[in-house]
């Protein structure tokens, strides 16, 4: 395996000093990672090459531990190429293995938006069987989504999250659905969101099912049949459901 331009991975100094309380073991492992000492496996991504340790990698990832069960080609060569996945997400994965905090807010290596990036990391965690990475990605994603829901990349995050994990994996989906419901009125003005709503398999269905838990209930009074009726959500109302009377209902909200 040869890469055109093998890069030595630089770890940011701040990450090194991230946590004074960390034990010696973690430190020394991080040092070994930086110097490639004792490394016994090479991971090659689209644009990078990592010298890692089987013990560290296999202990955290089911994919890697299963890889070494049998005498596959990768095992004989001690090299594994992961060219199908986003190299930045893989980099984050490897950093995660060694106890570094991966940075999701843009970088000199060229990053996408934090939300989208975390979706990718989440997918990597899912694909390679690393539950802790998934948890961390989800955590970061939930922070990002709070502030970035009205950004352009929110619909893209929805599509990406829904297409990269199985429907049983609720980790990101629930976050997306609840955030969407929270801001549904604003989001519905966004064409990209509407497009995602239409195209993303399962998202609309999730949204509707979640609506069972109302954000608020507005009660209206019909002047014609003199009855009160309630409506969940802020959907537009045209006719009284009891007598089909049409009026500007915003004026007939019962307090």
């Amino acid at each position: 395996m040869s890469s055109d331009q093998p890069m030595t991975v630089k770890i940011k100094a701040e990450a090194m000093e991230a946590d004074e309380n960390e034990g010696d073991l973690t430190r020394s492992i991080q040092r070994y990672f930086q110097t490639s000492t004792f490394s016994d496996l090479t991971i090659i991504t689209k644009d990078q090459k990592f010298e890692v340790h089987k013990l560290i990698v296999c202990g955290q990832s089911e994919f890697f531990s299963r890889l070494f069960n049998h005498n596959w080609k990768e095992v004989t060569e001690n090299v594994i190429t992961l060219e199908d996945d986003d190299p930045r997400a893989l980099e984050a994965m490897i950093h995660f293995f060694y106890g570094f905090n991966y940075d999701s807010s843009g970088s000199d290596q060229g990053r996408t938006s934090p939300m989208l990036f975390n979706v990718k990391v989440y997918q990597i965690g899912d694909k390679y069987g690393i539950p802790n990475l998934k948890a961390q990605a989800k955590e970061k994603f939930s922070v990002a989504i709070k502030t970035c829901w009205d950004m352009d990349d929110f619909p893209a995050a929805i599509t990406s999250a829904y297409s990269t994990t199985s429907s049983a994996d609720r980790g990101l989906r629930d976050l997306l659905v609840s955030t969407s419901l929270e801001h549904i009125n604003d989001l519905l003005k966004n064409d990209d969101f509407k497009q995602a709503l239409g195209e993303t398999l399962g998202f609309a269905a999730d949204l509707v099912q979640r609506q069972d838990h109302p954000v608020s209930t507005i009660t209206y009074h019909c002047p014609k049949c003199d009855m009160n009726w309630g409506l969940q959500s802020s959907g537009k109302v045209q006719y009284c459901p009891l007598c089909s009377y049409s009026i500007d209902w915003r004026r007939n909200v019962k307090k």
């Binding site: 938006s113 199985s166 398999l201």
Partner: protein, 818 residues
């Protein structure tokens, strides 16, 4: 690659449309399935795990996991049917399909065995390959959602159905599984008949059966091993061990049987560990226990000539240990072994008894039986009595040896088993108590040892000797009888100073106290106390005499033992004989003076007491002067009994050459006839101690016999001890004496029973008859086993004397009359 933050981001569109999904699935599957096939042909090292994983990951991501699962199963099924099954069937040679019966023929067995090993090898390889491939499949398909039945388990079931359970030929019903089973059973049969087999190979095939299940749920109980192999294995084993048991029994050697059985047991255990499965361990153990042991053990134990009896007789501790462990396996009570051991203990006990009787009777073979001995003349009576004493001691020693033997066997062979101990103890107790004179014999044994036996022995030896005796005492039920004899023997030892060591005597008492209880030794201890008190009394009497300043040179040195009459044996204390009060014998003047002097001294100290003198128990040292006919004088110091002293003192007043007749002596001394005869015998008849001459010279003493002082008495010693014939030594009682002892015993028991009844009734006030009886029995059991009739009679007597009354008839109830 860098992108600006504001740039519009589009979601990736690839692979999401339904149409593209199908194509992607098919292309992924195509790549994946061809790789999976290469795994089957062991070419995995050329494959990239990442590639395979990516293919399956993608398929699952396109929501096609179910199809992936089904297709993989299908792929595996085809592989098993087309490749593996053919390979396995190819490993079956025709000799394996032969009916089972013909394997007895040797060359066919060899051939079949080779064929069997070949087949097992093929099957083992097929199975191991399958397992390995399926593990690799599982790894590759890791991302596939967890299913109710994992792909691994499903593939195992496929192996079961399409390799083991499919007919080996389309026209036959035999399956590879059937062949496997019959082959393994055949191998086991070979091993059981002593051949070496390839255990590891079989073990591998058994692993396979253990790893496969009847159901998809894979419960423990549905292992193929348990459902389709074990039952037949146990069945053939049962048949085998039934035959084996019969075969071993026919050899009629218990030792061989035990060794073989134990070997079989270890062999089967090993088989479960190394050849079959530990799951069968306790089941095959059950088969062995049932077929080999439960059905045969009773017979083995009782085998003539080699059974437990012979083992016990020959001290075959090892084999006994084996038979014990065999019996213990199948029966916690070890009933058969216990019964055999008990029987032998009782038999041996009886043998000892018979032997002791034989010794006792040996010198007097003319006597038809011992009952008439009382009619014989004195001299003849003496001899069997001595013989009897020896035999009594031998009896005890033999029993101790027997006890030691069984203790040893119990420890070494029976693993100190509690049940066995109880049984052995019970048997000992049985036969010891079936010997009517055991109490007496035991007491004689102690007597003998305390008098002579312990001389020159270390403390430890004495201790263990006494302990042994005490052990026997534990078995004796009539402890009161033993006490009576012990008291009698002890009193003689004490009064005649025959004990070798007072320490040993005290030790004995404290041992008995531990064993039987305080109450039992109370009177014995009182006897010791009397002895100590008497010593003090004697010395203070001496001081008293010295103070009196009586310068009488001929003063008698008096040693006195004052005995409390209730504590000492009655025959010593009583002054009655045959129901008549005898007049006290007449003491010579010198003695009479000393007696009065002591009485005066004693009564001044303890007023209100009555002293009665027992000359029959005393001894005296006298200095005798013999005037030789040649004018010389010879002095001897004689140690004689008090009666002999009285007799001899008479001759002080008889001039040389004159004589006294028996009747004269009797009239002047009033010594009871029996004692007089015995003393005269020892003075005039016993060859070494003829201080008197008798006319006519014969062994018997007749009323008309004349006695002379023998001035020609010769002895090499200065001091001469003249024992009283048959008087001093403790001996087995004659029939008459025994009758008397028994009578006394019964009286005493009657009193004990009455005391117990009164004690109980006083406490309970009212009690039903049966309850009263049982309470009495339990209260007295420590001392003796009361006869129920005797208890009834005593209750009647108490009612007559108005201590109790009948208060109800149904059930009969008594009340206490205050």
């Amino acid at each position: 690659m860098a992108m600006r933050a504001r740039q519009k981001i589009r979601a990736p569109r690839k692979g999401l449309g339904a149409a593209t999904g199908v194509d992607a699935f098919e292309s992924n599957w195509k790549a994946l399935s061809s790789s999976l096939k290469r795994i089957h042909t062991k070419n995995a090292s050329e494959l990239s795990f990442e590639q395979l994983y990516r293919d399956s990951y993608n398929i699952v991501r396109y929501q096609r996991g179910d199809e992936l699962y089904e297709r993989t199963k299908q792929l595996e099924k085809e592989w098993l049917c087309e490749e593996v099954q053919k390979r396995v069937v190819g490993g079956i040679s025709s000799s394996l399909l032969l009916a089972n019966e013909v394997v007895d023929i040797q060359d066919q067995a060899v051939e079949r065995r080779a064929a069997g090993e070949r087949f097992l090898m093929v099957l083992k390889e097929a199975w191991e390959d399958h397992q390995l491939c399926m593990k690799m499949f599982t790894d590759v398909l890791m991302y596939m959602d967890p299913r109710k039945v994992s792909i691994y388990a499903a593939a195992m079931a496929l192996f079961r159905d399409h390799v083991l359970r499919s007919p080996i030929r389309s026209d036959a019903t035999t399956t590879a599984g059937d062949v496997l089973k019959s082959t393994v059973l055949f191998m086991i049969q070979l091993e059981r008949s002593g051949h070496m087999i390839d255990r590891a190979l079989i073990r591998h095939c058994i692993y396979m059966l253990e790893g496969l299940y009847e159901t998809q749920a894979e419960e423990e109980s549905s292992k193929l091993y348990l459902t389709s192999f074990e039952p037949e294995f146990l069945e053939t084993s049962t048949a085998f061990y039934k035959a084996e048991g019969k075969r071993l029994l026919e050899m009629a050697d218990a030792a061989v049987f035990c060794i073989a059985a134990l070997d079989r047991i270890t062999e089967e255990k090993e088989r479960c560990l190394y050849t079959l499965s530990h799951l069968s361990e306790h089941k095959i153990k059950e088969v062995l226990d049932n077929e080999l042991l439960r059905n045969n053990l009773a017979e083995v134990i009782n085998l003539e000539g080699t059974g437990v009896r012979a083992m016990l007789d020959n001290d075959r501790l090892d084999i006994l240990g084996k038979i014990y462990s065999l019996n213990a396996r199948v029966d916690t009570k070890k009933a058969h072994l216990t019964a055999a051991v008990q029987k032998r203990v009782v038999e041996m006990g009886k043998e000892i008894h018979t032997a002791s009787v034989a010794i006792a009777q040996a010198p007097a073979p003319l006597k038809p039986n011992g009952a008439e001995a009382g009619q014989k003349k004195d001299k003849e009576k003496e001899k069997p009595a001595n013989q009897l004493t020896t035999s009594a001691i031998k009896w005890v020693n033999d029993i101790l040896l027997l006890k030691q033997k069984f203790d040893n066997i119990w420890q070494q062979s029976f693993q100190s088993d509690q049940v066995m101990q109880t049984a052995i103890t019970a048997s000992f107790s049985d036969f010891i108590n079936s010997t009517p004179r055991s109490s007496e014999f035991l007491s004689l044994f102690f007597d003998e040892n305390l008098k002579k036996g312990i001389k020159g022995k270390t403390e430890v030896e004495v201790d263990s000797l006494l302990d042994n005796g005490i052990t026997l005492l534990r078995y004796v039920k009539d402890k009161d009888l033993f006490e009576a004899y012990y008291k009698k023997h002890l009193s003689r030892r004490l009064l005649m100073k025959r004990s070798v060591s007072m320490d040993a005597e005290r030790q004995m008492i404290s041992k008995m106290k531990m064993e039987v209880g305080n109450q039992f030794t109370q009177r014995l201890e009182a006897m010791f106390k009397d002895m100590t008190v008497s010593e003090d009394l004697t010395s203070s009497y001496k001081q008293y005499i010295d103070r009196q300043g009586d310068p009488d040179a001929k003063r008698i040195d008096l040693d006195i033992n004052v005995l409390t009459s209730t504590m000492w044996p009655m025959e010593i204390m009583s002054s009655t004989r045959d129901g008549q009060v005898e007049l006290p014998c007449i003491f010579p003047r010198e003695i009479e003076t000393a007696k009065h002097s002591f009485e005066k001294f004693y009564l001044s100290k303890h007023s209100g007491r009555k002293l009665s003198w027992q000359p029959s128990m005393g001894t005296a040292d006298i200095r005798a002067t013999f005037q030789r006919s040649n004018g010389k004088t010879q002095r001897h110091e004689l140690n004689v009994s008090t009666y002999a002293l009285i007799i001899l003192l008479l001759f002080n007043d008889v001039p040389t050459g004159e004589s006294l007749t028996f009747e004269e002596i009797q009239a002047r001394t009033r010594i009871p006839d029996n004692d007089l005869i015995r003393n005269l015998q020892s003075l005039a008849v016993a060859p070494k101690t003829r201080v008197l001459k008798k006319e006519p010279m014969s062994k018997d003493v007749k009323p008309t016999d004349k006695f002379f002082f023998n001035n020609e008495f010769q002895s090499p010693f200065m001091k001469v001890r003249i024992g009283v014939v048959s008087g001093g030594a403790n001996k087995v009682e004659s029939q008459d004496q025994r009758k008397e002892t028994e009578k006394k015993m019964n009286d005493e028991r009657g009193a004990s029973i009455e005391a117990a009844v009164v004690r109980i009734m006083k406490q309970r006030k009212k009690l039903i008859h049966s309850n009263l009886i049982s309470e009495v029995l339990s209260q007295l059991s420590a001392r003796f086993v009361p006869d129920v009739n005797m208890v009834k009679r005593r209750i009647e007597s108490l009612i007559d004397r108005e201590y109790l009354e009948r208060v109800a008839e149904d059930p009969p109830t008594y009340g206490y009359v205050a």
